[in-house]
């Protein structure tokens, strides 16, 4: 074996790139060759010191938010513009109000303002309706929807409420405050319910209210805050919440 190849194989052994036979062969040569063993020792020392001293940098939250805003459908019209200045947003708000209603503006607003979580959730709900595709995975089978969320850190409980009049329509992933958030989509007759699961933060939010013609229900279940948004009537959404909570907490067999 040439000296050059032996060097490459030494690195490959360190990196776990050799198969069992290659590793066995390498270990035999390592035992018989002091200078190879010394080189391998130095390589291991280098790897150890790099692991100890170097921190893998994480993308700053502001960058994540800019990219999330860029990806939001409103930004796809002008993808080069990240985080529009406030004046431009105000101008487009006026434009939107002139074209349709203030709610049009709300629907087109990028989901970057953490300060108005409810507004963001309603905007995402509307965006789903406007695009004609409220769910990225369209399925009434909770066993298909649940694993699909495996790609986000927080997997929501997925329950089947079809017998009670709330069939599962699917799921999608929204970006809330720069982080992906799972959304379950249910139907009630002609209405759509967006149920967003967020990591629990601060005081437990709880309650029911109406904003801009939308019913909102929010509750906390363990480490998860659930936000249900729909244009269905408040009583209907309250009923949905009751049924969802009951089904979600009726035992592991019902929720997996």
């Amino acid at each position: 074996m040439s000296r050059g190849n032996e060097t490459l194989l030494t690195h490959a052994a360190l990196d776990g790139e050799l198969d069992a036979a290659g590793m066995l062969d390498f270990e035999n040569r390592l035992a018989a060759n002091a200078s190879l063993a010394a080189e391998y020792g130095r390589l291991k020392a280098l790897r150890e010191v790099m692991r100890r001293e170097l921190v893998k940098p994480a993308a700053p939250p502001a960058l994540r938010q800019r990219i999330a805003a860029m990806v939001a459908p409103s930004a796809s019209v002008r993808p080069a513009r990240a985080a529009p200045p406030w004046q431009a947003m105000a101008a487009s708000a006026i434009l939107a109000a002139g074209l349709g209603s203030a709610s049009t503006w709300l629907a087109l607003r990028p989901a970057i303002e953490d300060t108005n979580l409810v507004g963001t959730l309603i905007a995402d709900h509307k965006r789903g309706l406007l695009s004609g595709q409220p769910a990225d995975i369209a399925s009434s089978d909770r066993h298909a929807v649940k694993p699909w969320f495996g790609r986000v850190a927080l997997a929501p409980k997925v329950v089947d409420l079809a017998p009670q009049g709330f069939p599962l329509a699917g799921g999608r992933i929204d970006v809330i405050a720069g982080a992906p958030a799972p959304v379950l989509v249910y139907r009630r007759k002609a209405h759509v319910i967006s149920l967003t699961a967020l990591p629990a933060q601060g005081a437990p939010p709880a309650g029911a209210f109406e904003i801009d013609g939308y019913s909102v229900q929010v509750w906390r279940d363990g480490g998860t805050d659930y936000w249900a948004i729909s244009d269905t009537d408040p009583a209907g959404l309250a009923n949905f919440r009751q049924l969802f909570e009951a089904a979600a907490n009726s035992g592991p067999g019902k929720t997996d």
Partner: protein, 173 residues
């Protein structure tokens, strides 16, 4: 021209690997502010080219775009930092008289390692960063950097050889 369904998919595919993209851009550019700009530009490119993403290894796909964006960005904005040599693979190994000492390597601190990585020629540096910071397999690195597996292996050996020489030289301490 609404692209929302594919945008949601894009978020799910790209966002989980943003830290990896940032780490690569940070190490190749040498500073955080540049990495910020580069990753934003790379994400935009990824978004525009998302139609061509055919599934598969999303991390390698995003890192390939980030890597290419980094070099274009550096050539445009930091022309003096990029040392590109066609002959880099053929240079004979540095013939340092002294064999680097394992004990000295083990005692290196972050600043010394960062300096040593910073002075590596770009092809060696990116291979080292993809392997030792991002933790990618040789095969993924070959795909991302567009070179044969054997070249990945020799670049990695050269990069580590240079680092060990820089950190393990007795007079350096």
């Amino acid at each position: 021209m609404t692209k929302s369904p594919s945008n949601e998919h894009f978020t799910a595919v790209v966002m989980p690997h943003l830290d990896d993209a940032y780490a690569l851009a940070r190490w190749l550019s040498g500073n955080n502010a540049d990495a910020d700009d580069i990753v934003q530009e790379a994400s935009l490119r990824a978004l525009r080219g998302f139609d061509r993403y055919a599934g598969g290894n999303a991390r390698a796909w995003l890192l390939a775009i980030t890597r290419n964006t980094t070099f274009t960005w550096l050539a445009r904005n930091r022309p003096n930092t990029l040392v590109i040599s066609d002959d880099i693979e053929n240079l004979p190994p540095a013939d340092d008289a002294a064999t680097p000492e394992e004990a000295l390597i083990a005692k290196a601190d972050a600043a010394a390692i960062e300096l040593a990585i910073g002075t590596l020629p770009a092809p060696f540096k990116e291979t080292l960063v993809l392997r030792d910071i991002n933790g990618l397999s040789y095969r993924d690195i070959a795909e991302i950097t567009g070179v044969p597996l054997g070249t990945v292996m020799s670049r990695l050996a050269r990069a580590r050889g240079l680092l060990m020489a820089a950190l393990g030289r007795p007079e350096a301490k």
